[in-house]
Symmetry: C2
Subunit: 338 residues, 2 copies
């Protein structure tokens, strides 16, 4: 029997939804239980990752895109604004209202900011949980926006069905170097602030990099035999990322971005990649949950003193971390079974 909170979320109650997100963010038992109950209702939403360097105007683009989906297609849209720039605060830097002024009061749109809590994997896991909640609650479009360039992009690519990489003219050479790497995770490329000088240069650079880029296989986390590799289905037609020019502040090009996203979704379904991305994402999630459970069980069964003793030996450089692990798991650092 489903919990009241779960039922309220499934029934579309926004207040219940907001409460559940907070509970999950705080990792409360009720939040975890609701997440379990909602899981069977997931798998319908189109997850769109929006990423790019600071200064490209991602937030404005996401704002306009959400408005577009709402006005044109009457779709329910959720926006998760991930802000990994504040790893230690535990709260988002920008308030939701500041971030998305245009969308406030729009009933079919739900916006939530989120800050990383400083633990590796924590951000990706919480984003995945939020995405599942919105998915189960009937949000057809879930946009995950990340600030910055780095590991967070990889996480977005892992999570999203469609990844949008936002560029802007005139952001300097450092950005240029980043583009080369980021191109590999882009399904749609957007040049925002396209009314600025240098847009032709940016577009030329992107086109030549696109021409060079080979569709690298997407390698996901793996342990032992459980490696999950997604290789692009070359024989079923390759997706070449389109380049769309936008001026998010006045809405120019937003319809074209939405159109590219829709065409990409079609490509994913036809090529079978929609299912394989879903499988890879859930496979990663299963492995992460497994890793956590194994570690939790280990710490439940070991004496704190014995563990701390090992840490001290490592700090004194008497044992390496790997030797310490051998002792902890086998009681003998010379055994070769680990």
């Amino acid at each position: 029997m489903e919990d009241l909170l779960t039922r309220s979320v499934l029934a579309g109650n926004r207040l219940a939804l907001a409460r559940l997100l907070t509970q999950v963010e705080n990792d409360s038992p009720a939040g975890r239980a609701a997440l379990e109950e909602l899981f069977p209702h997931t798998g319908k939403a189109h997850l769109i990752g929006v990423t790019g360097a600071p200064g490209t105007g991602k937030s404005s683009l996401v704002n306009q895109l959400a408005l577009h989906y709402r006005k044109t297609d009457q779709k329910k849209v959720a926006v998760i604004a991930v802000d990994p720039s504040s790893p230690f605060t535990g709260g988002a830097v920008l308030g939701d209202r500041v971030r998305m002024r245009d969308l406030s009061g729009n009933d079919g749109v739900f916006i939530r900011s989120m800050a990383s809590r400083g633990s590796v994997g924590g951000l990706a896991q919480m984003t995945a949980a939020f995405t599942q909640i919105f998915d189960a609650a009937g949000y057809e479009i879930v946009i995950v926006e990340t600030v910055g360039a780095g590991q967070s992009e990889v996480d977005v690519a892992r999570l999203a069905q469609t990844t949008i990489v936002v560029e802007a003219p005139g952001l300097g050479d450092d950005i240029q170097a980043i583009k080369a790497g980021i191109l590999e995770i882009a399904d749609v490329l957007v040049i925002n602030k396209a009314d600025r000088p240098g847009v032709e240069h940016t577009e030329r650079a992107l086109r030549s990099m696109l021409a060079l880029a080979h569709p690298a296989p997407r390698v996901y986390r793996h342990h032992g035999q459980a490696m999950t590799v997604i290789t692009p289905k070359v024989d079923q037609g390759l997706w070449i990322p389109p380049i769309v020019k936008t001026v998010a502040t006045d809405g120019t090009g937003i319809a074209e971005v939405a159109d590219s996203i829709a065409r990409h979704a079609g490509h994913l379904r036809v090529s079978g990649e929609w299912a394989s991305r879903d499988r890879a994402r859930l496979g990663s999630e299963l492995e992460a949950a497994l890793e956590q459970a194994l570690t939790r069980r280990f710490f439940q069964n070991i004496q704190k003193e014995k563990y701390n003793e090992m840490v001290e030996k490592v700090v004194r450089r008497a044992l390496s971390p790997h030797e310490a692990v051998k002792v902890l798991l086998n009681g003998n650092s010379k055994q070769e079974t680990v």
Copy 2:
């Protein structure tokens, strides 16, 4: 008995060092073995993390800083240029020579670029391994430079004794938002490109943010009872991050940056934080190694078919990832022990 490769690295052979780094990057058995043998020789280097948004001129700053240490103090300097912007290539975007032209041919300086391989934790782990190799090989200063803003900064803060955050004038509002979060991991703040307009504004903004900033406890990864929290030793004198203005391209302010780093090292030793950061870093490493070993052991002991069956059930939404973990660990999804 130590291996020949290990002995050559300890003896200061640069070719052996380069070969070992590649072996560790490729996760070869020989590389892993050498890393084990080198571990007792670690713990002497000063690890300096340099981070900041794209466009701030981090690479030039690192270049000049390495030159300074080499020329002024005759110290052996290693630079690890982490480039997380290319998660899927498996190779660094920028070649070492391009990156650090001034330093090529300088015998006491070793530069190595590194690209993330797309696996969560992989980048941090490899950076830690590289750092240990340089440390054992007698490099007194190890500088880890990260591109971008996000999880990589957290990893730098976790790894380094001193974290330098580089800013530059006129990088836009998006950057401004990032500063607020990044301030919390900064031990030294550098305003590079200080000959550009807007430097006073940037400095004012940083100073007012510094005045507001509270020294938040540094929370490290934790599982079960093994939580490791470092709280700043307020009673032993608080470190207020100095702000240093530089023009890295002509060397202005570099000596001041080096001086701030030296004073910070002194503060860490006096306050006892040097030891507690070392302990926290090794504690995290031990936990990561433990997690991996537990997961590897699990996959060695489970039939591939049984595991794939579970993945399929999750993909069909018949089981949630957590329920699947319960079944995998206990053989019963209704048990409450996980």
